[in-house]
Symmetry: D2
């Protein structure tokens, strides 16, 4: 993982700013011969797209992805795949105060301090818009995984939004795609909607927690001691804008557990070892066990809000700042497809890396 | 970050198994001319060393570090520094069942599945002993930081051990080094001792949470969008054995916050911008703000316990397993100096990386 | 250096095929605040552009570079710079035989064997057209070098084209830009022209040797033992299409020298050490000496020729193949600006890498 | 390739100085389950070892390699393999002048200028002794290749030493191991011996050219456009001490060839395509063709000679310098096993990298 790239073999580099001519991703190391076209990618983009409800920013972005290279006659060629999304909704506007003022809780000030210059239009590189490129890259990873590990599924959903929490007992996977919150509980969606409307009307924003469940991941992916699957998953999540915490399996709750409680006991099943529980979240010693992989992360509330906050500007003047414009009251909603995308990239990358080192051969049990 | 290396410029590669001839680290990219000798490194090792109390494994390891290269006449030369720790306490013993059985919650089974072979002696590469090499590398990072950023401090301490939690109001930094739990609350140490004794007597183990506070880190370190300082810190923590969750600033609690509550408002102080709070944990947009950096992580309980657990062995037989031997009832205690070490490496690495790209120049405010 | 990226800190990734929608480069790690616009880049592109004489392919390519990201109000921001060149001259044509036949000496067959699929249009990724992206990236490197080391110059010129060789005694740097061969000998250009016309009329092609002279490079760049400046320069040259050999200083001729002859003796000059000769080509132990850096490389003749050659096709049939279309009789000519570009990238990358590790401080002499 | 590491998947990091406690290599990413012990490695070391004849330095080095990690019960485990060679012949001596004087043509001065400090004992990190670690790593690569591609052979030999050149017509592979020059011409060895004796008696040294022939390499290894097999081979050769030029196939001579002469025509053989010539040296478009791979490189003469040379010292004084001590009159001889070693590493690395991306599947012909 370097500045704007991640992945060992399936390597993704993103580029672009919120209000420049466009943004995108270059994927290097993609296996050749995989069926891929823009039609496959677009539905992934549409899930992330803002403007689909009043709970996400009202900015209308087509987010149309164009494959610029690396695909020939509908198949990947093994050469770099460049995916480009042009910024069509670049409203000409007066950025006025934003150009020199620093929103509290936003990257404005650190970009200024580090680089001495920043593209302040729409947050520039720090905009959540950068994640569109990741979603496009994730769609390519999913196309490869579909051929290499057809049973693998990366399923993301919200588990918390401010005071609202998923009632685990109501978990219903089929509900996820049926409401604007990626919420696996159809009945609760209305309450979440009301809650968020309240937040929005109060000129406020709110944090969120998202969970990923990766099904069908073969055992053996990941490598000690720094190329662990959980290390790379955690890094991928933490690299998403506004993410402040990442958990695998029990996560932070592991601090409270005893060894007897935490042990995922094992019995033999028809197809090999079967675990009686999954405190580990499907990863032991940095390597996948073959169980479901469970990743959870928290997204802080959007820092661009209409409620005035005290801050300073580049001239060193103390000011009060209101951030006008089109901003998500809960940026965590859109983090769901983004997290699915980067998780797909990480899993595929480790699948290829494992194939490199071990040939994908597995030590037998029984 | 690749399989057994981490860092962009200050790059650390560790090698070695628990019961092989030795283990160590190679550091590439270290600045030249920095004062360094074995005497500087040893106290860092001693803090991590087991055998210092009955709460850590009784295995007696000298953990004596030898500088094998990269230092000449007491100063770093800019060439690779190899730090070696010989394994002196390699008891000849019958590993019997452990050689083929898989401890629940342990990397035994995934190493077997991935590689088809594993050094089962003491956990081999998956042993917490590998972290000794990280502590040695961290000591080198601290030697460089002492010269480049003398005011920088990396302070680790425990905040939770099973049911015991640090009472924040009692926080006393000076207490950390005065008790075997790295606990910043002298009065509470006795209760923690009793609690852990109970766990140990119950042939059990327990999880923990550790916090790092990095003081004196200059603003401007870290780089969007995958080379973020928090991304690399999270990856470094997650790569430590048994870590299941990582938080920056508010961490998972950010999911419950509103934007107004989460905003760290800014005023002008004598030396530049000053923040009225630190929900962000000292990092915005992946770049340090100059505030204290706050990292927290959870360590699961040791999976090697004396209480029998159901599992299988390589032959596919269902068994009950007791792990004899010298094991920490709370491996999270030793994670404190390990986390300090990898954090020091990450911060130094980003200091050098920032110097590479920006020359360390900073955009002014005021 | 990975599949389609090179550089440690100033990292260039190229993407794109000859006849796809476009091609380009993403530059990560560029210093911020550097003046850059499309007007600066274009003259570099124009030097590489084919169609400027009958000695290069008649394909008319505008090679217009568009800066898609990483630049704001005329200055680099430190975020990824994406440079895109759209392919405007994508003649619709029947590729017929070329789609399945393998040109001898061309990458057709190895792409087929490795990937099982290839974009055969114009050579796809293996086309010399990919080098346009490198030239664009090199222009950015030159913009940074202009600010960081204003006295640095990267000067490329041809020293051989088939039977024609530069007469060293006639070396005249000012002549380079005055003839279509980048030949530092104005008087000889006509003879080279006649020679190449003969080659072209004979439906043949011819190889070339190019030399780079890097002036004003400070001492201390490069790092033992695999990050040597000459290692990275050699790799950069060898990565250019059709390059078969690379030399530093004496190059292959060093095999014939004795130690007394090869030693570049040193005396003290006004500004520090001065060398009485430069057999080393300005690099000792992988690190620049401050002398002129001399790099030389050979380019094989274009494999796409009108003279029939025996080969096979994907069906395994033995055929005779003529390559119609617009091809350079001497692809080595265009290699001059390409080599300058990648050399500029390598030197800048090492300047930044050196700044990271040593802070750019230099051990004094005298 | 970074400072002291090379390889994408099979990644080698070397450490150590000539006269420190030892030196070695860490190999990360090695496939598991490969038979390996010190007995396999030692013969590779012995071929490189000086002191075997009067033509190489008289320093007696046991060069005994110890496997410190990554091997269990005679098989690689997939974890880092650390190979250590202790420096047993560290004569205590007065380095006097060498400590501050800069040998012309040696890295002394550039190390001083870059780092401001250097381990001057025996050349420190810039000593040819570092290559012992590469030979050890190469032996591990050969152990893996023996299992993965049993028919693959890496054969190195000298083709030039000053005025002496291999007569190609006399090429006899069996002779290589029968003379101290790795010369594939038994009859010529005596004349080479006399020639080198003359050089040595004249207190001089001499350059050399070495050729590598890699047989049995499957097609499809290497990847455009910067991860080319020839790019990585060239970089690996150029990273060897004193190497000044690298050629693939025709090498620099390609500059003189026409397209008709250079085309390696193809016919169908029993097992697939067969080439009628090999000007390309077995690599097209950066990818192996399945033919013999031919690499050639030049080594400059040892700069440490007994003949006085004019130079300066760190104080800026002009001096005349004689380098006493044990130095090879032709360091190119020992470069033969070193080059074989790094070539084996590069080929294996690309075999694994290709397996990662393509699964090793090959596009069929016929």
């Amino acid at each position: 993982m370097s500045l704007n790239s991640f992945g060992h073999v399936f390597r993704v580099t993103t580029w672009g700013e919120s209000h420049g001519p466009g943004l995108g991703a270059v994927i290097d190391g993609c296996p050749p011969g995989v069926a891929l076209d823009e039609g496959w990618i677009q539905p992934f983009m549409d899930r992330r797209r803002p403007g689909t409800s009043k709970n996400t920013t009202q900015r209308q972005e087509a987010d149309r992805v164009r494959i610029m290279s690396g695909v020939f006659e509908g198949r990947t060629t093994g050469t770099p795949i460049m995916l480009m999304i042009e910024n069509t909704d670049q409203r000409s506007k007066d950025y006025g105060e934003i150009a020199t003022a620093f929103r509290p809780g936003h990257a404005d000030i650190t970009y200024h301090q580090k680089y001495g210059i920043r593209d302040y239009r729409g947050g520039g590189r720090s905009s959540a818009r950068e994640t569109a490129a990741r979603v496009a890259a994730g769609a390519v990873a999913q196309a490869v995984l579909r051929e290499m590990v057809p049973e693998l599924r990366v399923i993301g959903y919200m588990v918390q939004m401010g005071e609202m929490r998923l009632e685990r007992a109501n978990f219903d996977e089929t509900a996820i795609s049926e409401n604007p919150f990626f919420l696996p509980d159809a009945a609760a969606a209305a309450a979440w909607e009301d809650y968020l409307t309240g937040i929005r009307k109060a000129q406020n924003s709110v944090g969120a927690a998202v969970e990923l469940l990766i099904r069908g991941c073969p055992p053996g992916l990941g490598a000690p001691v720094y190329g662990k699957l959980d290390t790379d998953l955690a890094a991928a999540m933490m690299s998403i804008n506004a993410v402040k915490g990442v958990e695998i399996g029990e996560g932070m709750a592991a601090a409270a557990l005893t060894g007897t409680a935490n042990a995922d006991e094992i019995r033999m099943g028809a197809g090999g070892p079967e675990y009686l529980s999954n405190h580990a979240g499907g990863i032991l010693g940095g390597i996948s066990t073959g169980q479901e992989i469970l990743v959870r992360f928290a997204v802080k509330p959007t820092s661009s809000i209409l409620t005035p906050r005290r801050t300073v500007n580049a001239a060193g003047e103390e000011i009060e700042l209101i951030t006008k414009g089109r901003h998500d009251p809960c940026v965590g909603i859109r983090a769901v497809p983004v997290a699915e995308a980067v998780a797909a990239c990480v899993v595929l990358d480790h699948l290829l890396l494992d194939r490199a080192q071990t040939g994908g051969h597995r030590g037998q049990i029984g």
